[in-house]
């Protein structure tokens, strides 16, 4: 296979950005979700409302933040509110259309683990933990998951349930009373997995150009089903790649800038 002219991260980011409609309210995490949301805002969705859990509402950063609370996010926000308010008045109250999540592990029903690998009391790997993820998974009207697909991360059984997807499937999430619809799409470096309408089991629904079903199956730790209609996704538009690469170049330059502090007050 020839080199496609874009990286796996780039096509994941562009694909995620295409899922965002102009005017939607997005609860954004750092990393690829932040890149995808800002790419969408800088291209087809200028009125996208970005909320970061640090309390910045309607923020329009010109460079991507390293942390969830960089000053850039506050300086370019419509308003900055206390953190309890972000979770209670915005997320829990149902004001968020799209929540973005990643995790260390995902299962066939879109449940996520970002807490531990191994036993909780004696973990092999202690991961950062829930943060905002469990409430984003519950309350966002829909969830987009972005993560690289490997047999170690796409597992038949989670080591720990941090954030609810479709639970055991077959309507279990709706029965639990969770207000949000759950993960609408899992965007990976192979393509997109979507839940089956009746069982909510994640199925391979789309592949990037030049990637085959067998490769996606080999990267999945459960017997991955293929949707009745398997789509081939378009390659990133050159114009999108220009905007994304410019954004990342500005970000690298900003994060490399030395800090100076004046001690005379």
């Amino acid at each position: 296979m020839s080199m496609p002219g874009y990286s796996p991260e780039e096509i994941m980011t562009v694909t995620a950005a295409r899922h965002l409609q102009d005017g939607a309210v997005c609860f954004v995490g750092i990393g690829l979700p932040s890149a995808a949301c800002n790419l969408a805002r800088m291209t087809h969705a200028p009125r996208l409302v970005l909320i970061y859990e640090s309390g910045t509402v309607g923020t329009k950063p010109t460079v991507l933040p390293l942390s969830i609370g960089d000053g850039e996010l506050a300086e370019t926000a419509t308003c900055v509110v206390p953190l309890p308010e972000i979770f209670a008045h915005y997320l829990q109250r149902g004001r968020v259309d799209v929540g973005f999540l990643g995790a260390a592990q995902i299962d066939a029903f879109g449940n996520l683990n970002s807490t531990v690998i191994g036993d909780y009391a004696h973990p092999k790997v202690r991961l950062p933990g829930a943060g905002g993820a469990s409430e984003i998974a519950t309350y966002a009207r829909e969830v987009l998951v972005i993560m690289k697909q490997t047999p170690r991360s796409f597992v038949s059984s989670l080591d720990f349930l941090t954030s609810a997807g479709y639970l055991e499937g077959h309507g279990a999430r709706a029965a639990s009373g969770s207000p949000g619809a759950g993960p609408r799409a899992v965007i990976t470096d192979f393509g997109i997995l979507r839940p089956h309408a009746a069982t909510q089991e994640l199925e391979l629904a789309a592949l990037y150009p030049g990637i085959g079903v067998d490769a996606a199956r080999a990267a999945t730790g459960w017997p991955l089903k293929v949707a009745a209609r398997l789509e081939t996704l378009p390659a990133p538009e050159p114009a999108d790649l220009v905007v994304l690469r410019d954004l990342e170049a500005r970000t690298r330059a900003a994060h490399a800038r030395p800090i100076r502090i004046n001690l005379r007050s």
């Binding site: 750092i30 990393g31 640090s54 309390g55 910045t56 933040p65 390293l66 942390s67 969830i68 609370g69 960089d70 000053g71 506050a74 300086e75 900055v80 206390p82 953190l83 309890p84 979770f87 209670a88 997320l91 829990q92 807490t115 909780y120 009391a121 973990p123 092999k124 790997v125 202690r126 991961l127 950062p128 933990g129 829930a130 943060g131 905002g132 993820a133 469990s134 409430e135 519950t138 720990f160 349930l161 941090t162 954030s163 609810a164 999430r173 639990s176 009373g177 969770s178 207000p179 994060h255 490399a256 800038r257 030395p258 800090i259 100076r260 502090i261 004046n262 001690l263 005379r264 007050s265």
Partner: protein, 282 residues
């Protein structure tokens, strides 16, 4: 509300075995105060913070803490807190008991503590494994009006909350501006409140609805320019993202970590000396 040198403020008000919340969500993290706790070699602390960040990585790795209450324990945008992981995975330098929440739950616990409530309430939906771990603190209760299940999160009232802020005025009132996280709630919940500030001014540069902590809520304050570095103070200096990236390598190895702390924290008289040694202040 006395204005004290930082070493005196910490020596007087932070004791072995205290529950201590150094708050500030990514922004205004009181690093200088945390370093003073390390210099005073406080032990057996119960550390409370939504995002432990590098300051708790340092306190944990230096053996100051026996318990951690938290909701997200990573180096934001970089990866692991290696000292936190070493304490949990391999009990180095000592075991660390965890009380773990989600952000929404921990914010609610501070709010309850700040309001004189025994617990805070939020809707209950699908239970996650966090509610099922040994020692999990949350409970479910029925709403007395609708019968629907609610999650009850026990209030948190730290012995001491420590914040960094932009300004203190002549009366001792403190202004916090920018990303505030749960700083206000953590202050109101605490038994004692210690504040470090960038500068002392005659009058606060505060709008009518600004976040101001009145002087009589504050136990004592210290003027510490750069006191949030490598976190930041909106309007004064930016977050040193290069330092957060570099910390990953420093903290990965026990010896490299210990050497760095001995040289840059134990070996420095105060925060100004550290900032000069790192070349961020002249």
């Amino acid at each position: 509300m006395p204005l004290l040198p930082l070493d005196e403020a910490i020596a007087t008000h932070v004791r072995d075995g205290d529950s201590v919340a150094l708050e500030g969500f990514t922004h205004l993290i009181p690093f200088a105060a945390g370093h003073e706790i390390i210099r005073l070699r406080r032990r057996n602390l119960h550390l409370i913070r939504m995002t432990p960040d590098l300051i708790y990585d340092q306190l944990i790795g230096m053996g100051c803490a026996s318990r951690l209450t938290f909701s997200w324990g990573g180096n934001p945008g970089v990866g692991s807190l290696h000292r936190l992981r070493d304490a949990v995975e391999r009990q180095w330098p000592q075991p660390l008991a965890l009380s773990e929440f989600s952000h929404a739950e921990l914010a609610l616990a501070y709010q309850a503590g700040a309001s004189g409530m025994s617990c805070g309430l939020m809707p209950h939906h699908a239970a996650t494994d966090l509610a099922r771990v040994p020692g999990a603190a949350v409970r479910t209760v029925p709403c007395p009006f609708t019968g629907r299940l609610l999650t009850a999160v026990p209030a948190i009232n730290p012995d001491v909350t420590i914040l960094h802020a932009q300004q203190i005025d002549a009366e001792g009132n403190v202004l916090i501006r920018g990303i505030v996280g749960a700083a206000r709630e953590a202050a109101h919940a605490a038994r004692r409140v210690l504040v470090t500030v960038e500068e002392r001014v005659e009058r606060l540069d505060a709008e009518m609805n600004a976040l101001v902590l009145p002087s009589w809520l504050i136990t004592c304050a210290s003027v510490v320019p750069g006191g949030a570095y490598p976190s930041y103070a909106q309007g004064y200096y930016a977050r040193d993202n290069r330092f957060y990236l570099a910390w990953d390598e420093i903290a990965r190895d026990r010896q490299a970590f210990t050497a760095w702390m001995e040289r840059h924290v134990l070996g420095m008289r105060d925060h100004a000396a550290l900032l000069r040694a790192l070349g961020v202040a002249a």
